[in-house]
């Protein structure tokens, strides 16, 4: 009897697991295969014959290509600034005890707590008060702020893992603070910092809620262009765009795995 009930619950759990995995992956497979649909209109799944016409439509659309270019430039520059400021702050937070330290750590992680729309609207009103209307500058500022929690957190985690005695050894051998940082601390922390950069870049590349408030026609990002397109006309060039963005995601995952190892994302645990 016990065995029977156990088997039943085991099957139920496995069933739920299977349903969940299908629910997670299924829609992506649908989108990828629909992006290869040869039909010129949005028709039910599955496609009868395949073609690359929607990719041609996507890459032939000036707005999308311009948006992709803007998104990449924005993502790289925002990540760079965010990583620099975040790593410096993490260095201060790891190596020093000072009054107000918990408050400062909370401040650096706080952009994650505020809903993105609130940050977007706040920056919009703030910039228009100051008379700053340059879209790229406004987007850059916003993306730096919203990605700072990722870079600070990643830098904190990797710096905390470095033994003080390494730096102390270098200094006792005559290295100054700058030499000790570049020869000891940075090489040991750089993979962690880089992982933070990947998270920040992915976040920036994906952001809609903040960017919709701040872009102008010279700085439309790809997600903003796609949202506009999706609201006006739900055709399959968005499926091609979605597949393309999913490929970028896969690329980021592979980089992350090569650099830090995916296992580290959840840690090893005590009973593994």
């Amino acid at each position: 009897m016990t065995r029977l009930v156990d088997d039943f619950w085991k099957m139920a759990a496995l069933g739920l697991l299977a349903v969940t995995l299908v629910f997670l992956i299924g829609p992506l497979i649908v989108a990828v295969s629909m992006s290869l649909d040869a039909r010129g209109y949005l028709a039910p799944f599955p496609p009868k014959s395949l073609s690359l016409r929607w990719y041609a439509a996507f890459f032939g659309n000036e707005v999308f290509v311009f948006g992709l270019r803007n998104s990449l430039i924005l993502g790289f520059s925002a990540t760079l600034i965010s990583a620099a400021a975040g790593t410096l702050a993490a260095l201060a937070l790891v190596n020093h005890d000072f009054r107000g330290k918990p408050l400062l750590s909370a401040l650096f992680l706080s952009p994650l707590i505020f809903p993105a729309v609130v940050v977007g609207l706040a920056l919009l009103i703030f910039f228009s008060r100051l008379g700053i209307f340059n879209g790229f500058f406004r987007l850059l500022c916003a993306h730096v702020v919203v990605t700072i929690p990722f870079t600070v957190r990643a830098a904190l985690a990797s710096l905390a893992g470095i033994r003080r005695s390494y730096v102390e050894a270098a200094m006792s051998l005559g290295a100054n603070e700058r030499q000790a940082f570049w020869d000891i601390t940075f090489p040991l922390a750089k993979t962690g910092i880089f992982a933070g950069c990947i998270f920040a870049f992915a976040y920036s590349l994906d952001d809609v809620a903040v960017s919709l408030f701040l872009y102008d026609t010279n700085s439309t990002t790809l997600p903003v262009a796609l949202v506009g397109h999706m609201r006006a006309d739900f055709d399959l060039s968005v499926a091609a765009a979605a597949t393309f963005l999913a490929l970028i995601t896969v690329l980021l995952i592979v980089i992350l795995d090569r650099i830090v190892g995916l296992d580290r994302v959840v840690g090893q645990g005590l009973y593994r």
Binding site: P115, V119, V145, E168
Partner: protein
């Protein structure tokens, strides 16, 4: 902190003294860029919308109302039944989605934590991290293709006895979208807790005669509660501030507070009202997540003590 103590070795001691002095001067340099960025680009703008939310709306003045008189009207309007309705719909959708996502992600977390195959472990973690990185637009578009009117939409809607164009079906789609977004995060957060539970405990309770389901229910689940709670809080916060999912999948029939904020800007250019709704969203999110967090922590502590 022991690492900050001056070592007895004189050479090292002088080096550390020098370093400490150097660093305390450096501390400001290290922290300055980050603090300036956050004060200038986060705290000041937030203060601006707090002020803005008390301004009177002057129609036709794009860019807000600099010198308009102060009023409470923007907040009073939020108590109108229409707005209360927006708020309750949002809370309801987010709650259902978060709870369902937790139930669905627990088996995945358990699989990652306990599987003996390294390949399965890495594959599933890779899938979850990939879904976490996946653009919200890709997610929403794929779900619309699969569950919208070109996909399974009509079938599911008929099974539920509603029209695929109705607002109930829009609610269903929004909840589906929120669940799809929450599962990867919830599963990854719970995995770290589950893999710290000693599997011998379940074996022990089985040896004492408990059936496996009973052993999991009274051993594994209570011990993994901290992970479940943090997953709940993180997912609930994210679902409450969801923007893209209700905007695209809700098709204007369902609007979360985030969407209202955006419409106030994009369609009406009513910045004071938009700011007030933004403040409401902020307060609701903070109060609910901290409030629920506090209650749940108390509750589990009592449960563990009993």
């Amino acid at each position: 902190m022991s690492s900050a103590e001056i070592p007895s070795d004189p050479v090292l001691a002088s080096g550390m003294k020098r370093r400490r002095k150097f660093l305390s001067y450096n501390l400001i340099v290290l922290l300055l860029p980050g603090i300036v960025l956050l004060v200038l680009l986060l705290l000041l703008p937030l203060a601006t919308i707090v002020v803005e939310s008390f301004r009177q709306y002057v129609p036709g003045r794009v860019g807000g109302s600099f010198d308009a008189p102060f009023t409470l009207a923007n907040y009073v309007a939020l108590f109108h039944p229409v707005y209360i309705n927006y708020l309750t719909t949002m809370l309801w959708c987010a709650s259902i989605a978060t709870l369902t996502a937790l139930v669905m992600s627990y088996p995945i977390a358990y699989l990652i934590a306990r599987t003996k195959s390294h390949t399965i472990r890495i594959a599933v973690i890779g899938l979850l991290v990939g879904l976490l990185f996946l653009s919200a637009l890709v997610r929403v578009y794929s779900l619309e293709l699969s569950f919208g009117s070109v996909g399974l939409g009509r079938t599911i809607a008929t099974l539920m006895g509603i029209s695929s164009n109705s607002s109930s079906y829009a609610i269903f789609l929004v909840i589906i979208g929120l669940i799809h977004h929450s599962i990867p995060l919830a599963a990854l957060l719970m995995t770290s807790t589950i893999q710290n539970i000693n599997p011998r405990l379940v074996e022990a309770s089985q040896a004492l005669g408990a059936p496996l389901w009973r052993a999991h229910l009274s051993v594994t689940l209570p011990l993994s509660m901290p992970g479940v709670l943090s997953a709940f809080l993180v997912c609930y916060t994210i679902n409450l501030s969801a923007f893209v999912v209700p905007m695209i999948l809700g098709k204007g029939k369902i609007q979360f507070l985030s969407n209202l904020v955006y419409d106030r800007y994009a369609e009406l250019a009513n910045f004071p009202s938009g700011s007030a709704i933004a403040m409401q969203l902020l307060v609701v999110t903070l109060v609910i997540t901290y409030g629920i967090g506090w209650v749940l922590r108390r509750w589990t502590r009592e449960g563990a003590g009993a």
